[in-house]
């Protein structure tokens, strides 16, 4: 079983937004970063993966299993961290643990207290008194204490300071020492991904633009700069999006090799960062 998460042809339509025919695979043993602008459909997709939302059409499979028949077994193997605090904010961590722990067969109290200590979390203070970072750490401690194979996080780094963000990435990397573990997390802070992500899934207006390894992204996507005289109806086809200025053009291409063979040394070709890709594609994905 190579794909831990497998979405096939998933469609979900809302009044003003929809996910269209999404195929998404998350590979076992790797970190997949799920990027996209606000409102691109990241949370909706995660909710469908968590069965909080049912797709109108298509199939959602985790560990090769279906929610219709194996919901409990599947959720037993998932650790989740959401953007906001989903725990009862009037309760302290100890009481929250008393509610959550018995839900899992594999709950590990020793492990939980180790994370509580590592994250310096107070056990007897109400969750609502926690800072955003502490709430996140508390959610994480709970998500990691039942030996989950798949860790799903919705914007875990949003609103965190840079130091804690780095600590979080260190921790995730430590978790990945276990080769069977898979992490899938959404973010719009692309620098989080440069360090730990193995695969990048990019969603745009409810459509999955690509799901590639970081090497493929680095080798395919390029930022190309050159003089305006190089552009004509044929050469423009090499690009996804072109910005023109009096001084020259800047364009995003998704096939670096093709650009090299068309323009040779007449243009400057740079590696496109994830942010470049997101920025240039914000106008939508052209369908060629």
């Amino acid at each position: 079983m190579e794909n831990v998460v497998e979405l096939t042809n998933v469609t979900k339509t809302f009044k003003d937004f929809s996910i269209k025919n999404m195929d998404l695979q998350v590979k076992q043993g790797f970190v997949t970063g799920f990027i996209g602008a606000n409102g691109a459909g990241k949370s909706t997709t995660i909710k469908m993966i968590m069965n909080l939302l049912r797709p109108d059409a298509g199939e959602v499979k985790l560990f090769g299993l279906d929610y219709k028949t194996h919901e409990k077994a599947m959720k037993e193997r998932i650790g989740f961290v959401y953007d906001g605090n989903v725990f009862f904010d009037g309760l302290n961590l100890k009481d929250i643990k008393r509610i959550v722990a018995p839900a899992y067969k594999q709950w590990d109290d020793t492990l939980f207290y180790r994370y509580v200590e590592q994250f310096e979390l107070p056990l007897t203070k109400a969750m609502k008194t926690f800072s955003k970072g502490m709430q996140m750490k508390a959610s994480l401690a709970i998500a990691l204490s039942h030996h989950a194979e798949l860790i799903i996080m919705d914007e875990p780094t949003a609103g965190l300071d840079p130091i804690f963000r780095r600590e979080l990435l260190d921790l995730l990397q430590e978790l990945m020492m276990d080769g069977d573990r898979t992490i899938f997390f959404s973010t719009h802070i692309t620098t989080d991904l440069d360090r730990i992500a193995d695969y990048i899934a990019f969603i745009q207006s409810g459509e999955l633009v690509f799901n590639q390894s970081i090497h493929e992204v680095a080798e395919n996507y390029a930022l190309v700069k050159g003089g305006l005289e190089l552009l004509d109806r044929d050469t423009e086809k090499a690009f996804i999006h072109i910005h023109r200025a009096p001084t020259g053009f800047e364009a995003l291409a998704d096939n670096m090799k093709a650009v090299k063979s068309i323009f040779g040394d007449t243009v400057v070709i740079e590696r496109a960062s994830l942010e470049d890709i997101m920025y240039y594609m914000k106008g939508g994905v052209p369908h060629v």
Binding site: G29, F30, V31, L169, D170, Q173, E174, M176, M177, G179, R195, I196, A197, D198, Y199, S213, I214, H215, A218
Partner: protein
Amino acid sequence: MKIIISNSSKEPIYEQITSQIKSAILAGELQEGTAIPSMRKLAKDLKISVITTKRAYEELEKAGFIYSIVGKGSFIAEQNLEVIKEKKLKVIEEQLGAVVTNSREIGLSLNELQQLLKIIYEGEG
């Protein structure tokens, strides 16, 4: 095993890893049969993604520098250093030949060429 990664380098990170491990092997710092860290451990230590170390190890394995045993880890493969060095030397000879041809074309003297080589050699050191 010492590996230093530069994030600002143009060279991809996996290539930085492979070339540093290769030179350590060629310099005799990593002996045949030595266990090297698992790719997950190396990724954690270098604070890079697993897929990057995976790719580096795969390329090293393809080139015959290391081998992996499932469940045991990766090890430095037996190297015929003499053969490798000889091969490298041959490549260098060919490249130098091209350099000399180019130099003659523009009338660069041996002395000037030597000086140029010296600057580059020491500059890169």
